[in-house]
Each structure stands twice: as structure tokens, then as C-alpha cells.
Amino acid sequence: MTEKTATGQPVPAAPEDAAAPEAPRPTVLRDILSGSWMVSVLSIFVGLLVGAVLVAAADTSVQATLGYFFSRPADFFVSVWRTVSEAYLALFRGAVFDWEAQSFVRAVRPFTESLVASVPLILAGLGIALGFRSGLFNIGGQGQVILGAIFAGFIGYWLTLPLGLHMLVAIAAGIVGGAIWGGIAGALKARTGANEVIVTIMLNSIAGYLIAYLLKQEWFRQSGSANPQSRAVDESAALFPLLPDPFRLNAGFLVAVVATVFVWWLLERSTLGFEFRAVGENPDAARTAGISVGRVTFVVMMIAGALAGLAGAAQVLGTEQKLTMGIGGSLGFDAITVALLGRSRPVGTFLAGLLFGAFKAGGYTMQAQTGTPIDIILVVQSVIVLLIAAPPLVRGIFRLPAPVGKGAR
């Protein structure tokens, strides 16, 4: 038996016993997390490639050249190249730097827009990543974002507080809202063993209906109109802008940076994070070492919810300035893709959030300027995540070696 596990790795320093490579039992989650950064980069590349095929296929001029492909095949390739490069250049101009803009402000605005779009993705993504590292599939980002937005928004227009303090209190309320929603799922799992995937999905539905209900109640929305949206948050509660008009970049970005550093410290440098990671990697060993797996589950879900709640707060106090039915957008689910692409590392998640924020911001420009449907972006993101979730597939495409220590079992 032991010999069979001997893998292709070099014999350890003291090979008295080849039972050595007692590889972790493979789980889907562990497989995803242990993928290399190379896999992430290649996944993005393949995602863009697949997107390019679809862009070309959807374009009418490309379709036209196919009609006489065999008499003048060059036309087809020229047309494909033009269509794809135009679409992706428009994406770039919409996301990073628009060299065709009339003024400098307009030229750099796309980059700040990407940052704006990335803030909630980073925050919610960190929450999901924290769950992944602790062995929890937190699918409840959506509900936690909505609860965070409800709490932060309501405090934002209902309370009257001095400038600055009001903002902090509203942010704190968002944290509490998300933490409650995550905590419910955590408590249910810890106490009864309920599967966190199912519980969080159901909590997402409840949150969706909760905000729909609240926005119908005048005491809550205080807007005086019949529309299902709230009054705008007070100036004193809004996240202050980091740049003058027309830039929309606000303090939410600072919050995202601070949160990233905090999650890094939590996971890598705190005793709490040591527990989280231990439970995530091997709950049996964690239990044997005296770590309470139930308590960790609860605390992780609370903190993950708090981070998602922060994302909701950033939306309502920053970008949107009021509560609407769509305040959560598809943030909760986009956050899962962000965390996966970032391999659940805080910095990785931050970078993945920036990338997906750029896709979001650039997608609009691409659609407006080249007529390429913004759905292509969705496809690109989906392909990326699909590949991230299947590292062996990416390794197969690019003939990368399998990671050491997991081979011949």
C-alpha cells in the first residue's frame, strides 16, 4: 500500500519510509485552491480567446465573408481580426485608458470607473474567499450583500448624525447586517450540521424578498413616491469622493484596500486565521488539536457575511446612493468567480476583483462603440471560472505538468 503512494517526487531527505507523501485527501475545493497562478493566467487567456470566437461569430460582417470563404478566404480572416481587435480595444479603452478621448480627464476616467466597479466585487469576493479557505462554500454572498445594503442604507437616510460619524455608523450597520445573515447560516451549520450551500442559497431568496417587501413600506423607504426605492442617503453618510467630478471614485476603494489587508492579516498572521485554515484543510486534525470546528464555522460565516455586507454598504453609500430592488445586482455570484480566480488568497482576490471590475466597466463601452453584446463579457468570465474549477483541463490544454505530490495515487 505504502509503495503505491510513492509519487514522482524526489526522495525526501530521510527516506526511511516512503509512506511519506501522505497527500491530502482530494476534494474539489482543495483542488481548486491548489491550482497555480499560472492556471489563473492561462484561464484568463483562454477565456478571452473563447470570447473572441463568439465576438467574431456574432458579427454580421464576418458572417458575410463566410458566404464566399472559398473564393476569398483572406477577407474572412481580415474581417475576424478587425472585429475582434476592435471589440477588445474598445473594452480596453472603456476599462483602462481611452486614448481617443478629447480631454485627459476623460481619458483616465475609465480606469477610475473600473476601480469603482471593482470595490463591491473585491469586498464580497474576500468574504467568499475566507469561506473557501475555511472549507465552507458560502453561496450566500448575494443575501449578505443585500442585508448589508439594507442596514447601511436605512441608517444612511433615517439617522441624522454629524458628517463623517454618520458614514462610519452606516458602514458599521452594513457590516452588522451582513454578519447577521452570514451568522445565521454559520450557526445552523455549526449547531445542526445543515449544509451551508443550501442554507445560504435559501437565505439569498429570503433577502431578495425582504428588500422587495421593505421597499414597499413607506416607513422604510421614506421616499414619498410609489416607486420601490428609498430616499437618497444623506450627504453626511455617503462615502466621500476621492477625486473631483466627473470622477465617481469614492472612499469605498479605500475600504476595499483596508479589507484586503485585514483579511490577509486575519488568515496569515492571527490565531483566529490559523484556526480557520486548519479547519479548512483538515477538520479532523483541527478537532484533535482542540479547535472547535463549530465555533470556527460560525465565526467564519459571520466575518464572511460582514465583508459581503460591507460590499452592500459600499454600493448603497457610494455608487448608488439609494436602496433599490437591484442593489445587489449579481454581486454575490460574481464574488464567487472573483474568489475562485483569486485562488482565495486576499491579494489574488483583490487583483481578480480589479480585473472583473474592468470587464464590467469596459463592457459598456464595448457594447456602445462596437455593438458587441455585453453578454460576451459574461461568457468570458464564465469560461475563466470553468477553467479555474478544472485545473487539469487547463494543464491538459497547455501541457503543464501535474503539481508535485499528487500524481500516481
Binding site: Q9, E22, R277
Partner: protein, 523 residues
């Protein structure tokens, strides 16, 4: 049938598991393949059984080269294999198990179990196996299940039988029965390749011995060689099979268990009304065949399972209701039975694994903040103290050999002042050299005055370190006996025979085992 392996080489990547191995098994010979865990014995046998294709070398049967592309080929060439972990379906009957994979059919698609039943009865009668073809596998004791595996191989006309660590799961008495069966098979002309790392058994039964170390044949030996000679060949240096220890100087009993009963998830009683006392500076070994409640007893002591009834007290404090962490803080050191699942976290670094249950204690943590510098410097210190062979303490612990992983666990659990040490199977899967080291450290801990509870299924280990021995059978303590109790008596007690009766039976000679006879030789 004569079997010959010539220059068999098997590599996994850059790791050579078998390095041009030669082996000859004469017809009707019992040939022992001796080597430590990881030496390459199982790889070699899996190659022979067609599970692996060798990179180089050839297999000859009756001097004719053969090539196997799978176990099916090996079986039709007359090779049978009994794996260490039985390949049986628990809900099948014996006849069904024997038929599995080679189902005899009647008029097309109908299963002809009658034929299988007849075979079982016939083989069982020929070798005196006493196996009922209609018995259900899960109702059979482990020894009988093993015989079913042997019947299975024989029913396919195996002329060469490979037994992979066959005694690992047996009591000494069952081992004797197996040895008797092997003798009969040999008399019937079957050749047997017997894989083991237990020296005593090799000397009791083998006609020829091939010793493998690190994938290479390091020598042939005769059964007349002493255990020390064999061990030296196996490990590659002189080893002390017994650890020198002074007699215990026990103090007052500080750890006691009273009427402890533990019930598992399926509501069956796994520990039944167990009472024990352990004194300061004494090692109490808990002997027994695997699965008789020892593991659960150890887990109950550290708080991993909640007992149904009974009390556990340490230094006069009742431990009831305390969490695992609180018990560890009270000074209990715990070496879990299953190192890879419970003892270490494979993907964590070596230094992280060294603080797995100390991470929130000073000096490793200040408040909520870990102190990486302290963690590293303490780890470096333990690495030299426990002679852990590694490249860097920042490597994942999975890069270490089992022996070194266990040293990491020991350095963690023994590296703080203890008031009780509980170690479950502390040397399972370790090589002889590491076993020696682990035993020394445990005895050193005893000498410093810590009461120690050591669970072990290996009698050699029990005799080596115990000051007193408690034998467990089906959740009960059969008896607590002194360390110089004869091996045969312990063997009988491990099968549930009470102490007095076991003593009586051994004295009138009716229960002397082959194994203990071999012990009489100058070792």
C-alpha cells in the same frame, strides 16, 4: 510451479521503487519478502500480479518468460494474491465472494452459485478451513475473512500465493492458524510469497528470506538468522530491538478512569465499563487487536468523544464536560492513532504543524496575533532536539517521511510540561529506526514523572515499553497484567480469555504458539 523475477525495475517518476530485483521462489517453498514500510515489497508484488508494468526485467514461470497486462493474466497464469486490506464485499456470502469476477453460469445468464458453493466446501475441507459457503462476510471474524480470500485464490487454481502483510490484522492465535494453513498449502505444492516486516513470523515459517531495502535486494537470509541479524539487514545498520529502560519508579496514581462507557454513532457499545489507574512515572500499555475499543478509549480521555457514562479524572480534577482544548491545557499530550488525518495537516508547513494545538498560547501568540518569528525559532530548536530530517521548516509537512512526521507530532506533544501522555499507535507505519527513537522519547517522558497511556496493537511494542499491560477485548478490559506476562497468555487474553484461564491454558501447554516457540531461540 517455479517463479522467477529477473532484474525487475519499477519507477514512479524519478523515484525508483524497485531497482533490478531478482527473486526465485521454488515450487512448494514459503518465501518471505522482508523489508520495512516503503522498501518496495508491495510494489514488487503488484508488478508480479500485473497491476504495474515494470520498466525493466522479466517474470518467468517454470523458466518461461510471461507478460501480464493485468491481474486477469496473472490469475490465469496461476498467481493468486491476498491483499493486506481484503477485497471483499461485506454483504456477500462466502460463495458469492468466491464467484465474484469469475461467475460460473448455467445455461447462459443464470448464476451458478451451486458450483461456487461446491468449490468452497471442497477447498475448505481439504485444508480444514471450517468456512460455511453461505456465511455472510461481515459476520465473519477477520481471520476467517482472510481464509475466504485464500479460498478465492485457490479456487482459481493459484499455484503461487502472494500474502501481503497477512498477519497485520490477526491475533497471535489467528496468526498461528494462518501459519498452519500456509504449511498445508505448501504440503499441497503451492508456493507462497509472504510479505512482512515482522521478524518473528519470518523465522517461524519461511524456507527462504529475501530482504529488500530502499527498492533493492540487500541480501538473502536463512530462517536460522537471528532477529538482530535480520533487522540489521532490513534497516542497514545495527538496531536495538529492545529499548533499554530502567524499572519504573511509580508514584501515586494521578490519572484514573472509572466505569467509562462509550457508545458510537450506531449506538453500539465500543468501550464498556472500563476502569483504570495510571501512576506517575509509569507506562500503562493498552494491548488488543485493532478495533476492540482502544482508540475510542483514548479519544474519550482527550475529549474527542463524549462518554455515555463514567468519570475520567486527572490530578483529582474531573475532566467531564471539558473541551479538547481545555484538556490539552490541563497538560494532556495526545498522539493520535491516525497521523495523516488527525495528527498533522498535510498542506501546513512543518513549523505550523508544530504549533497545531499551541497556536494561541504564549509565546507563539500575543493576543490575537501570531508571532511568526517565535514560531520559527522554536521550530528550529525542536528540529534539532528531535533530530527531524528536513530541508526547511517552511515546507509542507507532507514532504517528510512518516517517521519524521511522527517526530514532529512528538516534538509538539512532548515539548511542553505534561501531566498525562496519551499515545495511540505511536509507531504505526514507522521504520525500525524511528520506532526506537519514539520509544526512547516516551520512556524519557515516563522517567520525568508523567503517567503514560500507550495504545498499541503490536505486542512487540507493548513488551518493549510497558510497565503494566491492560488487555482490551470488545470494549472491556480483560485484565491488567504485569509487563513480564508470557506472550501466549497475552495472546489468549487478546482473544477474550480471562487472565486466570489464559494462564492455566498456557501452563498445561495447550496454547503454546509457534511464534513464541521461535522466541526461545537466542535472539
Amino acid at each position: 510451479m517455479k517463479l522467477e523475477l529477473r532484474g525487475i525495475t519499477k519507477r514512479f517518476g524519478s523515484f525508483t521503487a524497485n531497482d533490478s530485483i531478482d527473486l526465485v521462489v521454488e515450487p512448494g517453498e514459503i518465501h518471505a519478502l522482508l523489508g520495512e514500510n516503503g522498501a518496495g515489497k508491495s510494489t514488487l508484488m503488484n508488478t508480479l500480479y500485473g497491476l504495474y508494468a515494470p520498466e525493466e526485467g522479466e517474470i518467468l514461470i517454470d523458466d518461461r518468460p510471461v507478460a501480464f497486462s493485468g491481474p486477469g493474466d496473472a490469475v490465469s497464469a496461476g498467481i493468486g494474491m491476498v491483499h493486506q486490506h481484503f477485497m471483499l464485499v461485506p454483504v456477500f456470502t462466502v460463495a458469492e465472494s468466491v464467484a465474484l469476477g469469475y461467475e460460473p453460469t448455467k445455461s447462459g445468464a443464470l448464476l451458478d452459485l451451486g458450483e461456487a458453493r461446491r468449490k468452497v466446501t471442497e477447498i475448505s475441507a481439504r485444508f480444514g478451513f471450517h468456512i460455511d459457503p453461505d456465511a455472510v462476510i461481515e459476520d465473519l471474524p477477520v481471520g476467517a475473512q482472510q481464509r475466504v480470500e485464500i479460498i478465492k485464490a485457490l479456487s482459481r487454481d493459484a499455484k503461487i500465493l502472494i500474502l501481503d502483510e497477512p498477519t497485520a490484522v490477526l491475533t497471535p492465535q489467528e496468526t498461528d492458524e494462518l501459519i498452519e494453513i500456509m504449511r498445508q498449502l505448501k504440503a499441497g505444492g503451492t508456493s507462497i510469497v509472504f510479505i512482512t516486516h515482522k521478524l518473528r513470523e519470518v523465522r517461524a515459517i519461511a524456507d527462504g528470506i529475501t530482504v529488500i531495502r530502499r527498492g533493492k535486494v540487500v541480501g538473502e537470509a536463512s530462517p536460522e538468522s537471528s532477529e538482530s541479524e535480520l533487522a540489521g539487514l532490513m534497516v542497514g545498520r545495527d538496531v536495538h530491538l529492545t529499548t533499554d529502560k530502567t524499572d519504573a519508579d511509580p508514584g501515586e496514581a494521578t490519572f484514573s478512569v472509572r466505569g467509562l462507557t462509550v457508545v458510537d454513532k450506531s449506538e453500539s457499545v465500543v468501550v464498556s465499563d472500563v476502569s483504570l489507574d495510571v501512576r506517575r512515572g509509569e507506562i500503562l500499555a493498552i494491548a488488543g487487536v485493532d478495533g476492540n475499543g482502544q482508540s475510542e478509549l483514548a479519544e474519550a480521555i482527550v475529549g474527542l468523544v463524549e462518554p455515555r457514562s463514567g468519570t475520567i479524572s486527572l490530578d483529582g480534577d474531573d475532566l467531564a464536560g471539558l473541551s479538547v482544548k481545555e484538556r490539552l491545557r490541563k497538560g494532556i499530550g495526545f498522539v493520535p492513532e491516525d497521523r495523516s488525518t488527525d495528527g498533522v495537516i498535510a498542506s501546513f508547513t512543518i513549523s505550523e504543524n508544530m504549533i497545531l494545538d499551541l497556536y494561541d498560547q504564549p509565546p507563539y501568540a500575543k493576543g490575537l496575533s501570531l508571532q511568526p518569528a517565535v514560531v520559527r525559532s522554536e521550530a528550529e530548536e525542536k528540529v534539532s532536539e528531535f533530530d527531524i530530517r528536513l530541508t526547511s521548516i517552511d515546507d509542507p509537512i507532507s514532504t517528510l517521511s512518516g517517521g519524521n512526521q511522527q517526530k514532529v507530532v512528538l516534538s509538539r506533544e512532548l515539548g511542553r510540561p505534561l501531566r498525562l501522555l496519551v499515545a495511540s499507535q505511536p509507531t504505526r507505519g514507522l521504520d525500525v529506526g524511528s520506532i526506537e527513537f519514539v520509544h526512547k522519547r516516551i520512556i524519557a517522558e515516563r522517567d520525568s514523572g508523567t503517567p503514560c497511556v500507550i495504545v498499541s496493537t503490536e505486542l512487540d511494542e507493548v513488551f518493549n515499553i510497558a510497565d503494566r499491560i491492560a488487555v482490551m477485548y470488545r470494549g472491556r478490559i480483560v485484565g491488567v497484567v504485569p509487563a513480564d506476562t508470557p506472550r501466549d497468555v497475552l495472546g489468549l487474553m487478546m482473544a477474550g480469555v480471562p487472565e486466570d484461564e489464559a494462564l492455566a491454558r498456557v501452563e498445561d501447554g495447550s496454547a503454546a504458539t509457534e511464534i513464541s516457540a521461535a522466541e526461545e531461540d537466542p535472539a
